[in-house]
Amino acid sequence: MKADPMGVATGSHYLDGDHACAEGAIAGGCRFMAGYPITPSTEVAERIAERFPKIGGMFIQMEDELASMAAVSGAVWAGAKSMTVTSGPGFSLMMENIGLAVMMEVPCVVVNVQRGGPSTGLPTLTAQADMMQARWGSHGDYEIIALSPNSPQECFDLTITAFNLSEKWRVPVLFMMDECVGHMTEKVIIPNADEIEVTPRKYYKGKKESYRPYRFNGSNSVAPMVKAGDGYFIHITGLTHDERGYPVINAEAQEKNVKHLVNKILKNEEKIRIIEEDQVDGADVVVISYGISSRVAMNAVEAARKKGLKVGTLRLVTVWPFPESRIRELAKSVKAFVVPEINMGQISLEVERCAQGNAKTILVPHAGGWVHDPTDILNAIEESIV
């Protein structure tokens, strides 16, 4: 389906990542947002709050982040494509209700413009330290989809992708920006609505009495949804449930329910996966990065290539689910992976795990507040080959 032209601000703009994300959400069909302002994500909410009344959307500033995430789930079951936006401290508060959305299989988007932590940390400065929280932040076993843009243009494009993936897999999609990208202003091209592909929600059209809100059948598909007010009597719960949505508190039901939540993502990892590779064939070392670090790393990679080193790059656009099979395969042909990230080592551990000892993994950490000095990445590349 193509985007609704009413919401699409077609043209060339000079926008920061936060504003571009807001435009991407609108183009992607988002018409409900609940949020609580927090730096450095507030500009997303500001733009949405200004734009929504003109296009039939609704923005509510909630009393806190717990309520924001709850309202998002409610709005989805009422029929709206929905989103919330926050940063670290608010992301922590949202975790319980993100877990609820995972369990209820609620398609929605949660934007986290990452800043330095822990706790209130560095409100106005950048970090990429919530990547593992995105993966494991809520309790219980589940799989999630997370994307990481590296420019305002991608904040627009990939927010649309985030909505599309959430509808396809009925899962909250975490949009993991960082303050640097959020507050960076660049050219953003917004295409015509008829050039923007939007995944519509799948609604059930059969007999009322045979509707099942869930489908646990080998995990290649999810059940269609219904809207509150359409006359269906359905039960949606955070408790372990059967395909009718009714609570069933035993190990057999848990096995079916949790396996479905995990497998619908993991078994389709290659379909969900978005990665960008460059010159990995014949490379001695591959730099694996995401978000703003992927741009800074390119500086180092170009310098290393000038010195005659064989350096490839792999950029994680989807960070979760992790491209395990691809890293495993690459580990057999390269000597080392270099992983620069603005945290003390999160995704590097995943790379190391997937490399299975076949290639070295070298972390280039940064505690946050700024991006890497490209020289540090260059040094790591050079040391990795020695």
């Binding site: 000079y14 960076m184 202003t185 660049e186 050219k187 800074v296 500086n299």
Partner: protein, 193 residues
């Protein structure tokens, strides 16, 4: 080209960076990445916008040593002067910045942008006067591109006033460049004679 616009919050420093960046990337076929230094302060605190303009996509978004520094407050001038590269260009508002410790290795140009704006009726246009001056002195973006960048960036009812402010700053810059040229020419003639 690495550029830093600096001053205090409320002067429209970020807007200056946005106008030049927008002009370069939307109307001049270049790549322009702007980042802002956010502090906890709002109005009144030191404030700066960093702009990287390039023929190629910009990878590293921040600036370490700018080639051009624009300062519209004493505090910003003192804070950022040392970072300016040798032979860099320094643009100041001469009413707001008293340049002591003048660096002899940089090219300084000054304009009373705030006073010119006040003469137009409102000091709020000072940043756009400075943007005009910047455009003339640095020759990085076309003046027409900057004028095209104004709609959407300033309130519609003030577009004419902003164009007027831009033109005043631009003309002032062109005149200064002419004078410098004439001076240099005379100096040369004198030495030759």
């Amino acid at each position: 080209m690495d550029i830093r616009f600096s001053g205090f919050g409320g002067q429209g420093i970020i807007k200056s960076g946005t106008l030049i960046g927008k002009a370069a990337s939307l109307y001049d076929d270049k790549f322009a990445t702007m980042t802002q230094n956010f502090g906890p302060e709002a109005r009144g605190g030191a404030c700066s916008a960093q702009l990287v303009i390039s023929e190629k996509p910009v990878l590293y978004p921040y600036i370490v040593r700018p080639e051009i520094l624009v300062s519209m407050s004493q505090e910003a001038y003192e804070k950022f002067l040392d970072d300016l590269v040798p032979n860099g260009i320094l643009l100041i508002d001469s009413d707001l910045v008293k340049p002591h410790n003048i660096r002899k290795d940089v090219n300084m140009y000054s304009i009373s942008s705030t006073r010119i704006a006040e003469e137009m009726g409102n000091r709020i246009f000072a940043n756009v006067v400075m943007v005009g001056f910047f455009t003339a002195i640095t020759n990085i973006v076309e003046p027409d591109a900057v004028k095209k960048a104004l709609p959407g960036s300033v309130p519609e009812r003030f577009i004419d006033k902003n164009i007027e402010a831009f033109n005043k700053g631009y003309q002032y810059g062109i005149d200064i460049l002419e004078k410098t040229k004439t001076k240099q020419k005379k100096k040369k003639e004198k030495t030759e004679a």
